[in-house]
């Protein structure tokens, strides 16, 4: 069942198109990575799905409902964490967490989530007694994360939720993602931390300039992408190229019988993404041959 369904989403800010026909499907139980370079339209998409922005064109549904019209009832089923959490300066962290819980279901929600809240406070190592203005960036992020994770919502919309978290806390967050996945709940995670995506996400969507350039499981993505191969020829020269996985054997055979050594490296996730973030949308499938002795060529731009 599709929890999120967006078809041809368009959003104009004045004359700039933030989204230009974006399609996105997130099915139940998926931890869906949402990737793309700065300004690609990730936050805009999430804010439309939250009913904070009104799409200029296209349709989107959450649990089959219109996020703009049915915002309130949908929000009771989901939780959202932005990448830059701002808090009320004179409320304490504990008060803010309770408030955000109460906003979704009154005081009964605070009571219901009490033990989870306490556990998360320990896990994330947050002091709930400090005033909002005295929290560091990472600690503000934790406040929003705890308030979002404690109610165990059906859907988590996370927009760079770990910005500013230290590596230890990053691990706690990873564990929470795994827990969510194991319980069959759904996550849409926008992130620039590729290792985070690689560990927890089952499916990824890559957007660029308001459009989706790639969407699928990580395994598929790998499979579609070129493998880096290099061979030492009979005369000692080293040649290398990027070729589709299916064509590796053919490429090696074409180097002739005198090949002394061959290495084939599947692309790292980073290469995979960087290739798709760049100016040209095509994945590096062409067998671009290079005869330079140093071989390897970066694809960074």
């Amino acid at each position: 069942m599709a929890v999120i369904e967006a078809i041809g989403l368009r959003k104009m800010f004045g004359t700039t198109a933030a989204l230009d026909g974006l399609d996105l499907t997130v099915t139940q139980g998926e931890v869906h990575g949402f990737l793309g370079p700065n300004g690609a339209g990730k936050s805009t998409t999430l804010r439309i799905l939250l009913g904070l922005l009104r799409a200029t064109g296209g349709t989107s549904t959450l649990f089959g409902h219109d996020p703009w019209r049915d915002a309130v009832s949908l929000h009771r089923r989901l939780a959202y964490v932005p990448g830059d959490v701002t808090v009320w300066p004179n409320l304490t962290g504990g008060e803010i967490i309770d408030l955000l819980l109460a906003l979704r279901g009154g005081r009964t929600e605070i009571a219901r989530t009490q033990s989870r809240r306490a556990q998360l406070l320990t896990d994330f190592d947050l002091d709930p007694g400090k005033k909002g203005r005295s929290y560091s960036k990472g600690n503000r992020q934790k406040i929003a994360l705890i308030a979002a994770l404690a109610p165990d919502p059906e859907l988590l919309l996370l927009d760079e939720p770990t910005a500013g978290l230290d590596p230890l806390m990053e691990q706690v967050f990873q564990a929470e993602l795994v827990r969510t996945r194991d319980q069959g709940r759904t996550v849409l995670l926008s992130s620039h931390i590729l290792s985070e995506v690689e560990k927890a996400c089952t499916v990824v969507t890559i957007v660029r300039a308001g459009r989706v350039v790639e969407s699928g499981s990580l395994a598929d993505l790998r499979h579609l992408s070129a493998t880096h191969v290099s061979a030492r020829l009979a005369d000692g020269r080293v040649v290398d190229a990027h070729v589709p996985p299916a064509e590796v054997a053919a490429w090696v055979a074409a180097r002739g019988p005198g090949v002394q050594a061959v290495t084939a490296t599947p692309p790292t996730l980073e290469e995979l993404f960087l290739a798709r973030y760049g100016d040209t949308a095509e994945a590096p499938t062409a067998a671009d041959e290079a005869a330079a002795p140093t071989g390897r060529r970066g694809r960074r731009r």
Binding site: L53, R76, V85, T92, E95, D98, L103, K131
Partner: protein, 536 residues
Amino acid sequence: MTSLTGTGALLRLAARRDRILIPVSALALTALSVGSAQATVALYPDAATAMKELGPVLASPSALALYGPATTTSLEGLSIFKTLLMGAVFVGLLAYAVVRRHTRIEEEEGRLELLGAGAIGRQAPLTAAVLLAVIATILTAALSVGGLIGIGFDPLGSLAFGATWEIAGLAMTGVTAVAAQLTASARGTAGWAIGALAVLYLLRALGDTATTDAGRALRWFSPFGWASQVFPYGSNRIWLLLPAVALCLGLVAAAFALLERRDLGAGLLPARRGRTHAPRGLAGPVGLAWRLLRPGVLGWLIGFVLLGAVYGGLVAQVDTMLSDASVQQLLADMAGVPVASLLASLTGVYAATVLRFMAVAAAAAGIGMVLRLATEERATRTEAVLTTGTGRWRWYAAFVAPAAVVTGALMVIMATVMGARGHAALAAAPPVGQVLQGALEAVPAAWVLVGLAGLLAGWSPRVAPYAWAGLGLAFVLGEFGTTMRLPQWLIDVSPFAHVTVYPLGTWEWGNVVGLSLVAAALTVAGGILHRRRDLG
């Protein structure tokens, strides 16, 4: 690098960011002073005629309390009577706005941190803000001086008029510089600075209306008291600028000393630890909004109670004023009442005048509360509320409804205190019930401006602050429109032009219902706009 490095660059940046605010304020205040001066001069053939008509008004305690003492009996002096101190308050507010904008607000929004990491001295931002405020107020005063000389007024007197305004500008520059160091929030700064302005103005009012020498000495404790003693077109005591300069320098020096003692982004008072769980009341949008609005409301409440007590006490002065039989006759003729009921009608006029002014202040309280909605949105905190099951209408109502209630409640409380105190001091003064009725009659006008704030905040958080311009315009049109001889249709734009408080005890239902409907329509329109637009 000295602690002042970068002041020039910051000053240019600040001036650029205020390139609309400062010129528009200066021009508007010049239009106010020169326009009403010209209109008054055109109205009366000579000073004697003017004095005959205006004299009794000028000597009344309400005029003394609100506008200060008349400077001279010359026509020029009479023509600037209303705009002199009121204008000075506006100049003070301009200085306050400029200083606060470029110190605490910058700091709160984190921009100062970005700048502070560059080659910017620690004292540079405050210095730049103070310099810009002084430049802005001098510009405003100078424009008015030029305008007054331009319409043929005495140059020295006009200069004294400018000095009066500059006294207020300098004082509020210093006051705001200190206030910006005391608390960690721009809102706290506003509370301290505006509170100080109110107290200083009140000290002057008490001094000017006092009947004993000791009481009159109070005015020397307030820069507004100094301003009221310059007497443009009379004794022209321009030298009173000197204590204002000294005060400004002293306060700015104090602000620098405080700045040295605190961290960037912090106040002087350290943040305390608080609860680890939300209290029972903080469990929904209404509870949250109230928690955010509560400190401000408390401040307004204290102010209104104090003002009610002070203005109520002043009622008794009407009696002392009227000991002379010929003055009694003159005033009775003017008011068109027999001498016997003179006291009652004079105190009635007085109460009605005060209520009209308090309605403006109550509107300011309400506008401030509604604009919190926009502040929350600009700080992107609204997002957290609206993505956790709170509808936009509820969130909008959580600010607008308390604003409307508080606006009305402040008027009721102030009227009750003033009425009770006045009636106790002077039996002929209107009883509480009548004063209360007058207050209620003025409330819908304040609601219209609260509704306007709702409309603007609903429309966009960026345009929301223009609600203050709306209040200023409504006040000027309603209060000075006739003096400036503006066309009636323009004056009628101001809701305050439709407040018919006097005579007390009679309802003018048409105005009450009409204004209430306009207020409701504006509020609902704001809610609809808020519901329909992009947020954040």
